[in-house]
């Protein structure tokens, strides 16, 4: 099973853009947080900024406009794809609007936001001003590389963690309101061996994922399916809804790179 790099980048851009649309609509739903009483208020965020805090006053009257532009360009990219002329314009606008919004907000970012930004910037470099086949392949390799780096780093960090090795990490997470669930906490507390097994399954899966997804197709496709199921599970139990789009969005690029290794 091989995936053409252009098709892979097209799929990645569309799914990432859909995730960007959902996240931007969420930001619009809490736009009051950019006001004087919000956690992203200018004075609070400027205290954290080395430079640029003085420029927040200029962007603040426009922040809702920037978010609306981000939402519209994300939707356009998701529908049109990155290769059409209008899609290329949407890509450039989306990347620019996301950068302004992130710079102004500074706080509240996460890994899903980061990998979406990395993927969309790579897409922009591949298709602007006009798509180039070599640049498309470079972008596909970069996105796949970042995905594999993310899983391996997460796996190694967990391997170094006493809480993960000892099988208590999941119940610690499940005990929080933000990422936990009373039902999951109850199950894990009643079955500590199951929790230990789950912790080690996650560690091993994350550490070995490059070997799995870059291996033969009978390994790669099930491994990516498990990855997708993992992110669905994290969304349902932990509320990590943005990860549901951000990480699986990059899977087509991994499949394309796998195709280069196993033509």
């Amino acid at each position: 099973m091989t995936l053409d790099p252009s098709l892979a980048l097209d799929l990645t851009a569309r799914i990432a853009a859909f995730g960007s649309l959902v996240s931007t609509l969420e930001l619009l739903a809490v736009q009051r947080e950019f006001g004087p009483a919000g956690v992203f208020n200018r004075d609070a965020v400027a205290a954290l900024s080395w430079r640029g805090g003085q420029n927040f006053a200029r962007i603040d009257p426009l922040i809702v406009f920037v978010l609306v532009v981000q939402a519209v360009s994300s939707a356009a990219l998701a529908v049109l794809g990155p290769f059409a002329i209008a899609g290329r314009l949407a890509t450039a606008v989306c990347v620019g609007a996301r950068a302004i919004g992130r710079w102004r907000r500074l706080l509240g970012g996460d890994g899903a936001e980061q990998i979406t930004s990395l993927a969309l910037i790579a897409v922009a470099l591949a298709v602007l001003p006009v798509p180039g086949p070599a640049r498309v392949r470079l972008a596909v390799a970069f996105i796949a590389g970042q995905l594999l780096l993310s899983y391996v780093t997460a796996g190694i960090a967990k391997l170094l963690s006493p809480a993960w090795r000892g099988g208590t990490a999941l119940s610690e997470i499940a005990a929080t309101e933000t990422h936990g669930h009373p039902l999951a906490l109850g199950v894990l507390r009643r079955a500590p061996r199951v929790e230990l097994l789950l912790c080690w399954t996650i560690i091993v899966f994350e550490c070995l994922i490059p070997a799995l997804v870059l291996g033969p197709v009978w390994l790669a496709v099930p491994a990516l399916a498990i990855g997708l199921a993992f992110h669905i599970g994290c969304a349902v139990t932990m509320g990590l809804n943005s990860f549901l789009w951000a990480f699986p969005a990059t899977y087509p690029c991994v499949l394309a790179v796998r195709g280069w290794l196993w033509p």
Partner: protein
Amino acid sequence: MDTVWTTVVAAVLGSWLAASVVHQVSPRWWAGRIRSDVFGLLPRWNFFAPRPVHDDVHVVFRECRGGQWSAWQALTPAASPRAIRWIWNPQRYTRKAATDLVNGLRRSMARFDATPRAVLLSSSYVGLLGWVMGQPGAADVTHRQFAVLTSSGFGPEQKLNVLFVSEPHSRDA
């Protein structure tokens, strides 16, 4: 022309990926160079490790009016309902921002263990204070004070802990 652009893109993406690898380890010489990644372009991929998330943070504040302190009021919003947060979770931004500020405060508290009042000058303290002082209030409110609580567990088994209590701050300052 396209060859030149392709070479530039290859250099940018190659360097970016290499920098991302180094950033996972962040040796001292690297941390000194990467002071402020305001666009979040250098990822850190150690999700929930080595120390997994183990508590929720709650920022609360109270006001002084006519020499009397009010009850504590919650500033951190409740989490989005579990039934929908797998697809729609806008409160995650506010709650994550509060957690970012509190984690910065925790680092400052650890760093300034010997001189605790130095925490007042930390960017996280100033950021939290800016959030608290930005809340609307009556004209006769003279001071505000904030605290950071942590919690874990649910229902009657929930454990609460007071992590930090700020100094009272004048609203005129």
